[in-house]
């Protein structure tokens, strides 16, 4: 294995302490809606300037991986993804918690996150230079189609009508246009309101559309937030290990998907977890009902999103192109430290990069005990806290969390209005997931779309630009398959049933 000699460097007490501290801090921060992995890494960057480079990298990597896992807590216990990459975790995590299996769901999420994180980190250790070429194969039009693929996936996966899902995704894309246009600088869709000039922040929408509807329903009726199954207390580690072993192909496949999607700059954990979830649902065994509290959904989502951590570091370290926003912050910190990223990094500064990768692997392993402990504490807090304290606490967290994104009161107002609007839309079958994903993918989709449109216009070959490139064609075929397969399967099932009756 490359760089094995640097394992000892990663195992020094100071590096281990940084890894443990980073994982704990990241997990707690990721669990609080509004505090993102990017923000937590960014806040700590100035502290790392005085540290040895590899220790600083280990601390930032540990925070990042912990925060991605921490997002699962609020997704499972509050139906609110702590980070955008935990959106797919809500599909089965919250229904499972509602059934009284919250502790089992959290343990499964922890095991899946560790599995995904390790596979992503091992890919970074062994395959970084060849895999980084994948990132270079994607041009603007491919990113546009990838964003559209992500949207069709969520439209097809979200509960209810496919048409409503597509409409929700399109609405999310339009909401992402609010504010000053990145491409040409026009002020769009503000209708004279200065409040809207900054646009809608993704995390603000995430908190509003997921958390406020839960609060609105929580406050309306007495009764517990989550059911508690008597006799099923504790970590339920044995049950979770047994389940994960039975679902190992799902975990492995999702981790590989997460690693590959993580390599693509900008795509990130939200697309990775959705693609993995979609694959898990497509290949479901008889008796597995996804969307109703199937632990396999949590396995797919959580292993994929944690695998993006290692995957995202591949283009960051090899090409100097950050795979995800936290990678961009870490890249900035590396430049300040005088580290030059690029293909030669692994040979010329192997001591730094391999110590960091081993540190990331150790941090991921440390996530198992810390994640289980913090998860159990979070679960017990949520089920024992009376509703009269739970509601104001969550409401208060949503306010301070959305304010902290850009220190702006307008963001809090937008969050509350979006949340109330989202609650009304959900009553009529327009679920929040496509809208939020539209907002997340909007900037990537628009940038790719406008660039491809401009090049296509200049070369007088718009159709060829959008539909003529091999990777684009493959993504378009996947998109059509995602959209049409449920309709075709439904039709085939009906024909089969009709034939059976006849």
């Amino acid at each position: 294995m490359p760089g094995l000699e640097y394992l000892i460097d990663a195992l020094t007490p100071i590096n281990l302490a940084f890894a443990l501290l980073g994982v704990i801090a990241g997990t707690v921060i990721g669990a609080i809606p509004g505090l993102t992995a990017t923000m937590s890494v960014a806040v700590l960057v100035p502290l790392t300037f005085a540290m040895p480079t590899s220790s600083a990298l280990i601390l930032m990597g540990a925070i990042y991986t912990g925060a991605i896992y921490g997002g699962a807590y609020s997704a499972i216990l509050l139906n609110t993804p702590g980070t955008p990459s935990a959106i797919a975790t809500t599909f089965d995590g919250y229904p499972l918690a509602k059934k009284g299996e919250g502790n089992f769901a959290i343990t499964i999420a922890c095991l899946a996150s560790v599995t995904g994180g390790l596979i992503g980190a091992v890919a970074l250790l062994t395959l970084a230079p060849p895999l980084s070429k994948v990132a270079l194969a994607f041009g603007p039009v491919e990113y546009f189609w990838l964003a559209i693929f992500g949207l069709t996936l969520i439209a097809a996966l979200a509960e209810g009508s496919l048409l409503k899902g597509i409409a929700g995704g399109a609405l999310g894309l339009l909401l992402s246009c609010i504010g000053v246009a990145e491409v040409a600088g026009d002020v769009r869709l503000t209708f004279g309101f200065h409040t809207m000039l900054g646009g809608i922040q993704i995390v603000v929408a995430l908190i509003g559309l997921y958390c406020i509807p839960v609060l609105i329903d929580l406050v309306a009726a007495p009764g517990h937030h989550l059911n508690v199954v008597t006799g099923a207390s504790g970590y339920r580690l044995r049950d979770a290990v047994r389940y994960l072993w039975g679902d190992k192909f799902n975990a492995m496949r999702s981790s590989v998907i997460g690693t590959i999607v993580g390599i693509l700059p900008g795509a990130g954990g939200s697309i990775a977890s959705l693609v993995a979830y979609s694959e898990a649902r497509r290949t479901a065994r008889p008796g597995q009902i996804y969307g109703k509290g199937e632990p396999g959904g949590i396995v797919a989502s959580e292993s994929a999103n944690n695998a993006t951590v290692g995957g995202g570091f591949i283009p960051t370290l090899v090409l100097g192109i950050p795979g995800t926003p936290p990678d961009a912050v870490i890249l900035g910190a590396l430049l300040v430290q005088g580290v030059r990223t690029g293909p030669s990094l692994f040979t010329q500064q192997g001591d730094i990069v391999y110590t960091f990768i081993w540190g990331l692997i150790l941090a991921t392993i440390l996530m198992l005990p810390t994640g289980l402990l913090i998860g159990r504490y979070a679960y017990r807090t949520i089920i024992t806290l009376p509703k009269s304290l739970l509601v104001p606490t969550i409401a208060f967290m949503t306010i301070i969390g959305s304010y902290a994104i850009s220190n702006n009161i307008n963001d809090v107002l937008i969050m509350i209005v979006l949340g109330a609007g989202g609650w009304v839309l959900a009553r009529f079958g327009f679920t929040p997931s496509p809208i939020v994903l539209g907002l997340i993918l909007g900037p990537i989709a628009e940038s790719g779309f406008v660039q491809a449109w401009t090049i296509g216009t200049a070369t007088d070959d718009r159709m060829g630009m959008f539909f003529g490139r091999p990777i684009s064609i493959a993504i378009i075929l996947f998109t059509l398959f995602t959209l049409l397969s449920p309709i075709v399967l439904k039709r085939l099932k009906r024909i089969k049933e009709q034939a059976h009756v006849d």
């Binding site: 409503k164 246009c177 304290l389 208060f396």
Partner: protein, 154 residues
């Protein structure tokens, strides 16, 4: 056209409203100086109009898909929750973060309270509420260095 009872009329109304939103977006794009700013919103307004109109057609044929959400609970408490959150947020820049947050926390506790007020709850809940508000204040303002709103009035 099917005479089957039309399910999900609410969903069809929302679809019609979304068509209106898309038309509003199309109108807004006419004022942009650079055509590059308009091409993306115009394209996806078209997608929104197509998907919403298709859903209305599906609904007209009696094939609307209604989610099984049973409406229950107190509407007044729901409205109070939103009103208190908005009022507290608007008050923050004027009276400061902590003076606005403590009454918001207290009011929301009252709105979410379904159990009888015992002496224990009367003493312990305000203490817990204050501790949570102050705890988050210190986490954000001191540890994470977020500049929380200060009072403009005083």
């Amino acid at each position: 056209m099917s005479t089957e009872a039309r399910k999900d009329t609410g969903g069809a109304i929302v679809a019609a409203i979304l068509i209106g939103v898309a038309c509003l977006v199309l109108w807004d794009t006419t004022s942009y100086v650079d055509s590059d700013s308009a091409v993306f919103p115009r394209t996806f307004s078209g997608v929104l109009i197509t998907a919403s109109a298709a859903y209305i057609v599906v609904w007209l044929f009696g094939r609307g898909e209604q989610l099984s959400i049973t409406e229950s609970g107190s509407t007044i408490r729901r409205l109070l929750l939103i009103t208190i959150m908005i009022a507290g947020t608007l008050a923050m820049p004027w009276i400061g973060f902590i003076p606005a947050s403590l009454p918001v926390f207290a009011a929301l506790t009252l709105v979410a309270m379904y159990d009888p007020w015992t002496k224990f709850r009367l003493i312990v809940y305000p203490i817990i509420g204050t501790a949570i508000v102050l705890g988050f204040y210190y986490l954000f303002s001191k540890a994470l260095l977020v500049p929380l709103p200060t009072a403009e009035l005083f």
